[in-house]
């Protein structure tokens, strides 16, 4: 038993005993405490927040470890979300329910916009396997194109951030403008079923919540693996001294493109899970504001910590819900203040505060002390 535990703890995806403890606490919170402790309405809300956590996790890879700040992760969240929404919309638009339309059997907003048939790029979304493939492949491809164009020309830092932001804006404007193809500013709404399975029932909500949690943990494990490999160390190295990495025989742009694609896929999974749990998708989750909000979630959690990013997302969104219910006009100021204070006073976020103070508690101290030898061989950024 003990050897099995050690084997698990020493594997690279867990990140040592310290990492295992962090994962276990988070798993207990997401899979046991929250489902037991809050009602279904609130749980569904938390499920929605946890879909943003995918993006925050992707930003830990990209920004916290790779030093590449993307202010356009909403692009990929949106692509994933729209992919799922297109599938569910087609399923919800069968000829019987849409018989009052001029052209029955097509999504309602297409009918309102005088479209008489389903556009070619909607066709693949009639099939669930193709939809899932599209949710993973299209964001990766898009990220590859952006990454190739930027990183091969050594565009980085602030310029990269601004360009990703511009692309997010362009995409959201495009979606709003092409109402007949995209549902416009309202987004794609009235989503009901996946292969006949009603996603609005209580049971379905629980199942989707758990599926979301499992996928989130999958993303964290994948990220852990990447960060604990030589790739992860190179990410940190590139963040510190890009030139040195280049003149050590590495094609820096390849590494950046790859991590940008991985981040895009993780964000897209979050987007798809959002659509499934919330039942609609709209351009307000694609543009600049959500993209920046997601950077704030990541920063509050601690931009170098995968688990911290999840807590950061939960905390900020809980605050957002709480304050916008009680003092709606104050929320934006609070959010801004929060971001400024994170940057100025605790740049490593919640994870940084935890590492600084909580480890001083005697019990935890003893726990980490015995594992210091094991921990030193791990790359620094991969812990916590």
């Amino acid at each position: 038993m003990n050897t099995l535990f050690n084997k698990i703890a020493s594997s690279s995806i867990v990140g040592g005993k310290q990492g295992l403890l962090g994962l276990a606490v988070l798993a207990a919170l997401i899979f046991i405490i929250l489902p037991l402790g809050v009602d279904l309405f609130r749980l569904n809300l938390i499920g929605k927040y946890l879909t943003y956590a995918f993006v925050a996790v992707s930003l830990v890879l990209l920004w916290g470890n790779g030093g590449i700040l993307s202010l356009g992760q909403g692009i990929f969240f949106g692509l994933g979300g729209y992919g799922m929404a297109m599938f569910m919309k087609l399923e919800a638009s069968d000829p019987i329910t849409t018989k009052i339309q001029t052209t029955p059997g097509i999504p309602d907003f297409m009918d309102w916009n005088q479209l008489t048939s389903i556009p070619w790029f909607w066709q693949p979304f009639k099939s669930l396997p193709l939809t899932i493939l599209a949710i993973l492949v299209i964001p990766a491809l898009f990220a590859y194109l952006i990454g190739f164009a930027m990183f091969k020309r050594r565009v980085g830092g602030v310029y990269f951030a601004i360009i990703t932001q511009a692309i997010a804006l362009i995409l959201s404007i495009l979606i709003v403008g092409q109402q007949g193809f995209t549902g416009g500013v309202n987004g794609i709404t009235d989503l009901k079923t996946v292969l006949g399975w009603d996603t609005r029932t209580d049971a379905a909500k629980y199942i989707l919540y758990y599926l979301n949690g499992i996928l989130l943990f999958g993303s964290i494990f994948l990220s852990r693996y990447i960060l604990s490999s030589k790739f992860g160390m190179l990410l940190l190295a590139m963040r510190d001294k890009e030139e040195r990495v280049r003149f050590s025989g590495y094609d820096v742009s390849d590494f950046k493109i790859f991590i940008f694609c991985v981040a895009a896929i993780i964000s897209a999974i979050g987007g798809a899970m959002f659509t499934l749990q919330v039942g609609f998708m709209s351009p307000s989750f694609v543009g600049i504001v959500p993209s920046i909000e997601m950077v704030i979630f990541c920063a509050v959690g601690g931009r170098a910590s995968l688990i911290g990013a999840v807590y950061g997302t939960l905390l900020v969104n809980y605050g957002k819900t709480f304050f916008s219910e009680t003092y709606p006009e104050l929320w934006l100021f609070l959010m801004g203040g929060l971001f400024i204070s994170v940057v100025m006073f605790f740049p490593d976020g919640i994870a940084g505060l935890y590492n600084k103070y909580a480890r001083k508690i005697k019990f935890l101290n003893r726990f980490t002390e015995t594992n210091k030898v094991a921990a030193t061989t791990e790359p620094k950024g991969a812990k916590a």
């Binding site: 030589k230 510190d240 040195r244 050590s248």
Partner: protein
């Protein structure tokens, strides 16, 4: 241009920035296992020559052949993989990684995306890290965060990171700048040891240090070679005394 036995053959190399020729039809040849020092006044084009060799700056005309392979068309990482290592003037190390990790990440395997994801930290990697750490006198600091090293130790660490790749040509830009007298002596010893089985090209200002290490000295002035030969010969050259050593 014909093939040669030289490790590095630079011929008619010119680079101009907005009409200003920083390097002007330069010819330079470096032998196998030679330690060459390039000296010259500020703005002579010393660092530019290194930049040109390692691909950081693209030449306007001329050729750079490393073991008869043209370097001027290659990307930076391809030049490194061909066997050319370059140390920057200010210590350029990964401050947030430990000394061990700095060396390990420079190990010349797993250089592609997939290779680095599947890279295994084998005993051979560890042995190589330990060997280099001993050479650069940092065995006792392996677990230390590189940011906490002294300036001299940082310089050595960067040299060590290059040695991890076992380059056939090692280029060092002012390796002893900012070092104490003792550290300079140790560095001289290190460079003499390193150059036993590879060619080394060093840019340096410190004449005492140059005397300790140089096999041959090249004096650059305004992008051109002013003199070349042994340290003693160069020091007696009147032109060199006039523009550089002086008075």
């Amino acid at each position: 241009m014909s093939n040669t036995d030289f490790v590095l053959a630079i011929e008619d190399l010119t680079v101009s920035f907005d009409g200003f020729k920083a390097v002007d039809s330069l010819n330079m040849y470096i032998d196998k296992n030679e330690l060459r020092v390039v000296i010259g006044p500020n703005g002579a084009g010393k660092t530019t020559v290194l930049d040109l060799i390692c691909g950081r700056t693209k030449s306007t005309s001329g050729s750079i052949k490393f073991k008869n392979r043209e370097l001027t068309k290659l990307a930076e990482h391809e030049i490194v993989r061909a066997g050319v290592g370059r140390k920057f003037q200010t210590p350029s190390i990964y401050e947030n990684l430990s000394v061990y990790q700095n060396l390990e990440v420079s190990y010349p395997q797993g250089r592609g995306v997939w290779g680095s994801l599947l890279f295994k930290r084998t005993l051979a990697v560890k042995a190589q890290v330990m060997k280099i750490a001993e050479e650069i006198m940092l065995t006792d600091f392996l677990e230390m965060e590189a940011a906490l090293l002294s300036h001299g130790q940082k310089q050595w660490l960067e040299i060590g990171m290059l040695l991890m790749q076992d380059p056939e040509l090692l280029m060092l830009d002012e390796p002893v700048a900012g070092m104490s007298a003792k550290e300079r002596d140790q560095t001289a010893e290190l460079l003499n040891k390193i150059s036993r089985n590879r060619s080394v090209l060093v840019i340096e200002h410190d004449m005492e240090f140059v005397k300790k290490i140089a096999h041959k000295v090249t004096v650059l002035h305004q992008g051109k070679i002013l003199a070349e030969g042994s340290m003693d010969r160069v020091q007696e050259d009147e032109k060199v005394i006039e523009v550089y050593l002086g008075h």
